[in-house]
Amino acid sequence: MAGLVINNLNLKPGKCMGVKGLVPKDCKSFVINIGKDSSNVVLHFNARFDHEGDVNTIVCNSKEAEVWGTEQRETTFPFNQGDIAEICFSCDKSEVKVKLPGGHEFKFPNRQSLDIINYLSVDGIQIKGLNFD
């Protein structure tokens, strides 16, 4: 089943977007993409419980004109199957800040220097709500 897709979000630099969803009990991995469109993704956020050889790891990447960049791995993994998780993203021309459940934060470079986020897609979790400040 295809996941939620939002177009024309118009999230401005420095503004925060919160994504709240239920992680299914049998979740192997879930993905949140933010960027310009499905081919140009500033941050591909992939939380892997058990997927492609990764266990409890967040794998981040970017995609420009359908071409993937270099992966970055985070070892903090504050997600549990069957729980509600909220992740906040804010972006400026140089980086994306990601705030995880429990408050841990990390950064990912904004390799395309995209200042306005217009695209969000979510796969693998059941979205409960979104907020934009």
Partner: protein, 130 residues
Amino acid sequence: MSKFEVHNLEVHKGQTVKIKGQISGHAQSFCINLGKSASDVGLHFNPRFSEGTIVCNSKKSNSWDSEERHKHMCFSKGSEVKFSIELHGDKFQVKLPDGHQISFANRHKYEKITYMSVEGDFKVTSFKYD
């Protein structure tokens, strides 16, 4: 402004969508559409400030059905407001910011809403469903 569009939503019968947003200071009108796609809409909810009216309608294969008009504008330009819309088998129940409710027949008997869009002078700040 381009429209805020959500695809692959999963709002089932009995569930409620809550939308919060900011009405712009110079607002003329805005609309919230709920349905299957941009061309198949079960509820087109369209407050028009110039007419002091909320116009509701539905659309099937891109043709509009008949309008229903409500003279109940309980919100003003420049304010932040919340709407909740509940999907029933026979109707959409819209709760306005002052608690007043408008119901609109679920003319196409949608059991599930998979598409939402917001257009016009309204900026979505939060959106939830359960």
